[in-house]
Symmetry: C2
Subunit: 352 residues, 2 copies
């Protein structure tokens, strides 16, 4: 759904009128729904440093302690199909998407909680494999799974993970820290996750696209990079790419009160993904910009901080950061510079 359509639809909904029709969430759109939910919540106390609306929340249990809290769910039939991912991959990804949120805040993963809603046909060894996949990633990232909940689901398998990380009180990253003139950097490349899903849907299982399929099934979480950027004070804003690069650019620019320009020729699109789309006559740039499942980081930093970025990159060589554009003064204007022309940057993915 593009931004304009979203705004128009929202304007149609006025629940304050006593005879307001009963609007479906699917008609309202995800962002408008989140705004309404947010409006229902009480004003946060001073222990809340960053509340609803960023990749994760930052809270202060004590004066010099900052914790980062995030929760993200994978729902069968929405975020995964059992036909496309083995249980171990599903468990891995359920934690990875949460670690990606911690990475975007520059946090060190510490603890996680796992909440499972299992359908009646759930198989014991599949549940064990799912937990095993999650445990693999937890071990790799030195994160402890400290609790959780298991219940029955009369519908899909739902995996809800909550992750808690720690950050230095003055060195965490938010979406809103960017300023006009900041360069925008992307870690790694985009497109592989979305192309991998298309390959699975088309029945591909191996060959040239196996890298993309692997990326879709077990996405990275750029925890080391996010932490290095925060530690080196090398970034003013950061966000992870769960809903696509174009969406992340819009979100960071919007939260920072800026506009944004993305340079098409600078975009690092995964080679196998580009080939996949080219062979099908699909606009690879658009597909890579709007596709989800990449879980890379988008970072904003002023040109004067390039030395700090190089410093962070020396500590964490992979994935490389690529400059893909910049934040501008034109608040609300999100552009794609392509072949000498200026286009509107595509919108992001919405779940509703």
């Amino acid at each position: 759904m593009n931004r304009t359509a979203l705004v128009n639809r929202t304007a149609l909904v006025n629940l304050s009128a006593p005879d307001a029709p009963r609007h479906l969430v699917s008609e309202l759109g995800e962002r408008a729904l989140l705004a309404r939910i947010r409006a229902r919540l009480p004003r946060p106390p001073t222990s809340v440093i960053v509340g609803v609306g960023d990749d994760a929340a930052v809270v202060a249990p004590a004066r010099n302690i900052r914790l980062v809290l995030t929760t993200d769910a994978l729902v069968e039939g929405v975020h995964f199909e059992r036909a496309f991912s083995v249980p171990a991959d599903i468990g891995y990804k359920a934690l990875a998407v949460n670690l990606s949120d911690l990475a975007a805040m520059g946090a060190t993963p510490e603890w996680a909680l796992l909440s499972l809603a299992l359908p009646d046909d759930a198989i014991v060894d599949e549940v064990e494999a799912l937990v095993g996949g999650l445990a693999d990633l937890a071990s790799k990232e030195n994160l402890a799974v400290v609790g959780g909940n298991v219940t029955r689901s009369p519908g899909p398998l739902v995996i809800d993970v909550t992750a808690v990380g720690s950050v230095h009180p003055r060195r965490f990253l938010t979406r809103s820290g960017g300023r006009p003139g900041d360069d925008l950097y992307l870690s790694g490349s985009v497109g592989a996750g979305a192309a991998g899903l298309e390959m699975l849907q088309a029945g591909e299982r191996s060959g040239e696209g196996s890298g993309c399929i692997g990326r879709y099934q077990r996405p990275p979480a750029r925890v080391r990079l996010g932490r290095a950027l925060a530690h080196a004070r090398a970034a003013r804003a950061a966000m992870d790419l769960s809903d696509g690069l174009a969406d992340a650019v819009r979100q960071v620019a919007q939260a920072s009160g800026c506009g944004a320009e993305v340079i098409e020729s600078a975009l690092p699109i995964a080679e196998a993904a580009r080939k996949w789309w080219d062979a099908r006559g699909v606009d690879a740039v658009r597909a890579a910009l709007t596709g989800g499942d990449d879980y890379e980081l988008l970072v904003a930093a002023p040109p004067a901080w390039r030395g700090r970025l190089r410093h962070a990159q020396r500590h964490v060589a992979k994935p490389p950061l690529t400059r893909i554009g910049k934040l501008t003064r034109a608040e609300g204007e999100y552009l794609l510079l392509r072949d000498g022309r200026t286009e509107v940057l595509p919108g992001g993915f919405e779940h509703f």
Copy 2:
């Protein structure tokens, strides 16, 4: 499912054999599944003070800071029906069941995350009402909702709440702290939640049972009592009654390496619930022992600590604590003393 059946069924499942049949989770039982999940998780680091298996986890972000983490989900068709609870009640209860876990640890609620999976027919104002109900309780308990996640569900409405509380490093309550000879205390009364659900299922909406219905729809969370008990060092063990009193007695005794005796005549059964069951020829004691949805606290404390208990009770007069039995040396033996006879204490509720 009773304990013996559970043990027998577990013994039948041997997944290490290469030709092991594919066992359904529903055949294995909830506790056996939890044990298998736990076995898959890596050994926790020293920052984890209490890990998987208690009402909530206790972690140490710094030397003198202890946080309590818990997550609990409400699933439509399993934990609630939209016919029996208005959206605001569902939101309220989703937070209450988590606060009840914090209460059982003696923790002060601090922050929460809300994860919603919404069916395609979800109505905007119902989602807002749900969040509003949760926000009401959050305000009452001075807890800040700091983030969350909204996604689509191809099946039921799923509400997953994660709550974080704080505790004094040496004054939190676990299930495992009890010792033989400790008295067992129950806060408030039992039976109202389970009877309330039965009334709703039978089409009752008001009258004598409205107190029970209200208890089912908006259960209490004994946050002030739990905190007062922990603060006064008045309890050696505590647990909340999410899966019924009999289950809680068994769990506290088992975690503490004890047996337990419950005195039937001492049980504070909610008057309206007793009437409801008596009128239907149902054994009210058994129904109150095995019914869920009460969310009271079960507490173990040695007789010598009665002064401390009175002290805590002076600070938090309601609900009163009633002595209902004691922990014994007979590890694994859970008894109900009834009309001069000794029976086996009923088992608890399992979701599978």
